[in-house]
């Protein structure tokens, strides 16, 4: 861990001295570089001024993301899938992308390296779509490309079921004069064939990627299969609330999902905590926190990875949340942040602490939900008016 702290000191010094907005933020908190150094030395990492993840969003951040990037370094913009309708942009060097890759590799290693069926487009497709965009003539890559290419490397045979319908895409582009979206199809027959083969061979099969496509598709399969303990599920990147990028679906009850899949594939109850995994990671923090399903919590139980110190900050007290309390996850890590001011990021999510390390940081957490911020629509409590963006003359 000493390497972590030494490296964090170096990274934080750069973050403080190089990124003017971060220095201003520290000044607002009454914190100078010597204070940050002392916080690291004393292990009080939760007290280091933290950048809200929303500041990396294009609209909400009002362009701050460019000021939080070290564009002198070679790299590319990593862009999120826009779960909230407002994509995040972080500038990443090759080393940063390798750190994200490593993090996802460690997450995938919790499941067997076997054949995988991914409910997503393949890495090449994601890469090509990203290449269509630039920001100030600088290259762009979709964040989803990193976990996807890592999965290609990890799983023995990664079969991406979402394919481009070339004919319909061309027609759409002609019709919309290039403004339409690519038309994608899910390869249902291929899915069924692969499941049947796994059932017959008694081989392991991982169902992966977007829960919004995975769940309705598998639930609606006309028959049940006897994959038993050989069926694994590795979901990630949210979508449980029915929203992911431009996709809209129903809110998904996790316990119901697990129960339905167990029924559909004859998975014994004893295998639930080993065969169902979800990954919590965001474009801003780039750390893949994997968690198995826990029947006790009726939710996934995520574990902070070794490359971060995670503090869940209880907003009511402003202190790190204790076991059982809720708060905003604050990720502190010197890895994967060579290209941007991302060493201390607070996500705009709410999680519940399940257990802590001796230093008070969070070890396990669950129940992830989006935090409310009173934005988006005319609002209020009772007849009291509340802040609305744009209520100005």
């Amino acid at each position: 861990m000493s390497e972590f702290f030494d490296r964090l000191t170096d990274v934080m010094e750069k973050q403080y001295r190089f990124y003017q907005p971060y220095q201003t933020l520290c000044e607002m908190e009454g914190v100078g570089w010597s204070d940050i150094k002392a916080m690291i030395k004393l292990g009080e990492l939760y007290a280091i001024p933290t950048i809200p993840a929303d500041w990396f969003k294009r609209n909400k951040g009002k362009g701050l993301f460019k000021k939080l990037a070290d564009l002198q370094q070679e790299g590319q913009w990593l862009v999120s899938s826009s779960t909230s309708g407002d994509s995040s942009y972080t500038w990443r060097t090759t080393a940063d992308i390798q750190a994200i890759t490593d993090s996802f590799m460690r997450a995938y290693q919790r499941t067997p390296a076997c054949k995988a069926l991914a409910f997503s487009p393949d890495t090449n497709f994601l890469r090509k779509v990203g290449q269509r965009f630039t920001i100030d003539d600088r290259p762009v890559m979709f964040y989803a490309t990193v976990p996807s290419s890592t999965a290609d490397d990890f799983f023995v045979d990664m079969d991406c079921l979402v394919r481009l319908n070339t004919l319909r895409t061309v027609w759409t582009m002609i019709r919309t004069r290039g403004k339409g979206r690519p038309v994608l199809n899910l390869q249902k027959e291929r899915l069924i064939r692969t499941i049947e083969a796994a059932e017959q061979n008694g081989s392991r099969l991982v169902f992966a990627a977007s829960i919004l496509m995975l769940y309705p598709t598998l639930k609606e399969l006309p028959q049940a299969y006897n994959l038993g303990k050989n069926a694994y599920f590795v979901t990630g990147a949210g979508g449980w609330d029915g929203k992911k990028g431009t996709m809209q679906g129903e809110t998904i009850d996790k316990a119901q999902f697990v129960a339905d899949m167990c029924r559909k594939f004859n998975i014994p109850q004893s295998a639930v905590s080993t065969n169902f995994w979800d990954i919590y990671g965001t474009t801003e923090n780039g750390k893949a926190q994997a968690g198995p399903y826990s029947s006790e919590y009726n939710d996934y139980l995520f574990e902070a990875t070794a490359d971060v110190k995670l503090y869940v900050i209880n907003p009511v007290s402003g202190r790190p949340a204790l076991t059982g309390e809720q708060g905003f996850p604050r990720f502190i890590s010197p890895y994967g942040v060579e290209g941007f001011a991302g060493a201390c990021i607070q996500q705009n999510d709410i999680v519940t602490v399940v257990s802590q390390f001796d230093d008070g940081s969070t070890k396990q957490f669950t129940h992830i939900s989006r935090a409310s911020d009173g934005e988006g629509s005319a609002g209020g409590v009772g007849c009291a008016y509340e802040l609305v963006e744009g209520v100005q003359a």
Binding site: P21, T24, L25, M28, P52, D54, W55, G61, K62, G63, L64, K67, N314, P315, V316, S317, G318, R319, Q326, F328, N348, I350, A371, S372, D373, G374, E375, A378, G379, G380, V381, G382, C383, A384, Y385, E386, L387, V388, V391, Q392, A393
Partner: protein, 498 residues
């Protein structure tokens, strides 16, 4: 889990709700029973009021009881109300109950209100601030007097954002001698009902003139009640108010409707009053109902050039908010804290983008003071104990900073020299402010105050097409002394000899 059951003398059915660790069984309007409920309430009201009784005495007695710390119902209810509403007990006592103690329900004044207002209209005196209680009153707009028959059925739809002030709603039926059907808000099914419990102890016959329970707005009960009421008064979100108005227009276009939707309030401190005492009062007013009431101020305009600079004024306010938060603890809920964090982040972001904004805050979300040297426009906050202090060169410029929200303006906490009071009140009234009070007393409601520019107890009889603006003090120094005493009094009730 605490089990609580409330009953209503006119309602048999109940619905069970689980709210913040309480299993609450509350009276419920059902389609099968709603006719009988309305009939029963009307019959009880007829019997009670025709015998020459009025409910005002019962309400006043009840307010007195609630301000007695030894009152059993208060002792039993406060922890439950705190649990259900999340407001701390000291908050409910200081800002909800104590103000009721100073209210005098003088029947003569209340019954005379329509006549007095009519007089102001007929003589043309409404055009200027004329003496009204301890202050002044002025009407804006073009008058058009209309008289109405007393409503036979009154429907009140309550908002659930604060505990205490809503109790004054029951005044309407008591003044006009009408049966009242009251819809409880989903987010607070308890506080109005416990008040009715005390009315039942004091005057059970008056209590029976009221049927109070819950129903869903998309229920057939809603349509039935809107269809059969002569007058509907609703408080709450704009969307709810608009939905009720639309339904009423469809099913009962002759019914009279008063809707009290989203409002925003603010404070104005002239340079002469940029003092530590006024900063103390300003902080006290902002902490009221944790900023959740329409009358709690969200912005404080402080004129430059006084004993305290606007920055110093803001810092002094923050010190007082710190102290207040230890004596009258703010609510500690995640959703409130989340909104405060989001709001703070947006303000910090403004600073990072080069705007002249400063944030004073403790580690948690107990209170937040923003000093905004950049943008003088009135901006609602995220509520809770959050205030944004805006320095101004001249308080006379303030109307131009608030007029973009003129449809939503309500209370202004004011501290300007007595000699300038009417001039400033005139400017604020002209842009839409309806209740001008001394800074830090915004939470003290009076029965002769207007509610968003109208008098609820007069509306059943008469409308005048005016928006009234009241100024409830005339001597600023005297009012400051009284307000500081009131604040000390409130604190004494929760922390004796603080």
């Amino acid at each position: 889990m605490i089990d609580i059951t409330f009953k209503d003398p006119n309602i048999n059915a109940t619905s069970a709700f689980e709210l913040n660790g309480c299993r609450l069984t509350a009276p419920a309007f059902t389609a099968a029973e709603v006719h009988d409920i309305v009939d029963s309430t009307s019959r009880h009201a007829e019997e009670y009021f025709s015998a020459g009784h009025g409910g005002l005495a019962a309400m006043e007695k009840s307010f007195t009881l609630w301000n007695n710390p030894n009152y059993i119902l208060r002792q039993e209810s406060l922890p439950i109300l705190s649990r259900i509403t999340h407001f701390s007990e000291p908050t409910i006592i200081c800002y909800g109950l104590t103000p009721l103690r100073v209210i005098r329900l003088q029947p003569d004044r209340l019954y005379e209100l329509p006549e007095r207002l009519q007089g102001l209209v007929e003589t043309g005196d409404y055009r200027r601030f004329t003496a009204w209680g301890n202050g002044y009153l002025k009407g804006y707009g073009t008058p058009r007097l209309a008289a109405y028959e007393k409503p036979k059925r009154l429907l009140l739809i309550l908002a659930g954002n604060v505990v205490g002030p809503a109790w004054l709603s029951a005044l309407m039926g008591a003044v006009i001698h009408s049966p009242q059907i009251i819809k409880l808000p989903h987010r607070d099914l308890a506080s109005f009902v416990v008040f009715l419990e005390s009315l039942n102890e004091v005057d059970p016959a008056f209590r029976k003139t009221i049927a109070c329970g819950y129903y869903s707005s998309d229920d057939a009960v809603n349509t039935h009640l809107l269809k059969t009421s002569d007058m509907v008064v609703a408080m709450g979100a704009n969307e709810s108010i608009n939905a009720i108005r639309e339904t009423l227009l469809r099913v009962n276009p002759k019914a009279r409707f008063i809707g009290h939707g989203f409002k925003v309030s603010f404070q104005v401190v002239s340079k002469a009053y940029a003092t530590p005492e006024v900063a103390e009062l300003a902080a006290w007013g902002i902490a009221a109902h944790d900023g959740n009431a329409c009358f709690t101020p969200a912005n404080v305009y402080v004129e430059q050039g006084g004993p305290l600079t606007p920055q110093e004024f803001a810092e002094t306010m923050a010190d007082h908010l710190e102290l207040i938060s230890t004596l009258v603890t703010p609510k500690k809920t995640m959703d409130a804290a989340e909104r405060v964090v989001g709001y703070r982040n947006r303000q910090a972001q403004r600073r990072l983008l080069g705007e002249d904004v400063r944030i004073i805050k403790p580690a948690g979300t107990g209170y937040t003071v923003i000093i905004d040297n950049q943008d003088p426009l009135l901006t609602p906050t995220c509520q809770e104990r959050v205030v944004i202090v805006k320095p101004v060169d001249d308080v006379r410029h303030i109307p131009r900073y608030v007029k973009h929200l003129s449809e939503n303006l309500e209370t202004v906490g004011l501290a300007v020299p007595a000699g300038n009071l009417l001039d400033i009140a005139e400017m604020l009234g002209a842009v839409g402010a309806t209740n001008i009070k001394l800074v830090g007393t915004e939470y003290i409601l009076n029965v002769t105050d207007t509610h968003d520019g109208v008098f609820n107890t007069v509306q059943p009889y008469m409308s005048d097409n005016l928006r009234w603006t009241s100024l409830n003090f005339s001597d600023t120094d005297q009012a400051i002394d009284n307000a500081l005493k009131m604040k000390a009094d409130c604190l004494e009730t929760v922390h004796p000899s603080t």
